[in-house]
Amino acid sequence: MEQKSNIGIVELIDRTLNKGVILNADLIITVADVPLLAANLRLALASVETMLKYGVMEDLISSNNKETKSLLYA
């Protein structure tokens, strides 16, 4: 149950930190350390074993990504 709620929070963080409407760079304050904050928070939410697994899984996802994209946008 805990893990499921963590997945929701991680999904929310990924979106809120990385995706949104683009404004001209001269209008906004650039925040360089946000990715670091996100990484720290993810570490706090995920177990060590999970992060190890993630490392393995990330390779698999990357290798399959091209093929998966071709399925979606076919």
């Binding site: 893990q3 499921k4 963590n6 997945i7 929701g8 929070i9 991680v10 999904e11 929310l12 963080i13 990924d14 979106r15 809120t16 930190l17 990385n18 995706k19 949104g20 409407v21 683009i22 404004l23 001209n24 001269d26 209008l27 906004i28 304050i29 925040v31 350390d33 946000v34 904050l37 996100a38 720290n40 928070l41 993810r42 570490l43 706090a44 939410l45 995920a46 177990s47 074993e49 999970t50 992060m51 697994k53 993630y54 899984m57 990330e58 698999l60 996802i61 990357s62 399959n64 990504n65 093929e67 998966t68 994209k69 399925l71 979606l72």
Partner: protein
């Protein structure tokens, strides 16, 4: 430091300034600044980013940001979200004037985006497969069984080569099934969603399962049950899923 900058949560279709009176990050008063047909939802802040030190502080700030976006969807029928920590600087002019000018200048682009996301929510969908079950199933395949039978009575190098062939065949069968299921699930989901994007990498939080696919889908709230039906059916194939949301449509801007 004076509050001469603006923290921006997102943009809504509203052609006039509005004292919205919602409480945002740290209880700040959130209001709408208009420029043409659109308004930005903002609160007054110092001209510096939020810099939380602890993970829990980040979590609280992001949840507060997200609550405002969800409230905006309810009150304005949609929202074009900004990233966390989007702060409009003073830049020689008042932040308010900078923002009004930007809203007017970008009106065409905002209109296109608004039409795409209006009335819709984003969900994060993770689909997992049971690797052991897939391997077990593949190892019971007729062709695999025949190769296994042919090992009987063989010794040394030939036996070793045939065992390698068994492993390779099982691997191929599992991979074929993964590709087929991805295609089926993607096609079924594409049929009922407005838009779908692949999440390039995702953290796996459940070490018991293997991730088949991680997607962001843009969908009308009343169609979400359709996704759940598709996923329930795919359980028969040894898949399971986790649906997170609703979120503001961050991945579709």
């Amino acid at each position: 430091m004076p509050n001469n900058a603006l923290y921006m949560y997102g943009v809504v279709r509203c052609g006039f300034d509005l004292n919205w009176k919602e409480n945002g990050i740290n209880g700040e008063n959130v209001y709408a600044i208009s420029g043409g047909k659109f308004s930005a939802l903002v609160h007054d802040c110092e001209e510096k980013p939020y810099a939380p030190k602890e993970p829990n502080e980040v979590k609280e700030l992001i949840i507060a940001h997200s609550k405002i976006l969800n409230r905006a969807i309810e009150d304005f029928g949609g929202v074009i979200p900004s990233n966390f920590n989007t702060i409009i600087k003073n830049n020689g002019n008042l932040s308010k004037n900078n923002l009004k000018k930007w809203l007017k200048d970008e009106q065409e682009r905002l209109e296109r985006t608004w039409n795409k996301v209006r009335g819709k929510r984003e969900y994060g969908l993770r689909i997992y497969y049971e690797k052991d079950k897939f391997i077990q199933e593949a190892s019971e395949n007729n062709r695999v069984r025949k190769i296994k039978e042919s090992i009987n009575g063989k010794e040394g190098g030939l036996s070793y080569l045939l065992q390698c062939k068994v492993k390779s065949k099982i691997k191929d069968l599992v991979q074929e099934k993964i590709i087929r299921l991805k295609q089926e699930v993607c096609n079924n989901i594409k049929n009922i969603t407005e838009n779908t994007v692949i999440n390039p990498s995702s953290i796996l939080l459940d070490e018991e399962k293997d991730l088949l696919l991680s997607l962001s889908v843009l969908i009308e709230e009343e169609k979400v049950s359709g996704i759940k039906e598709i996923l329930e059916k795919s359980k028969e194939e040894g898949l399971s899923f986790h649906l997170a949301g609703p979120f503001a449509p961050h991945s579709f801007i």
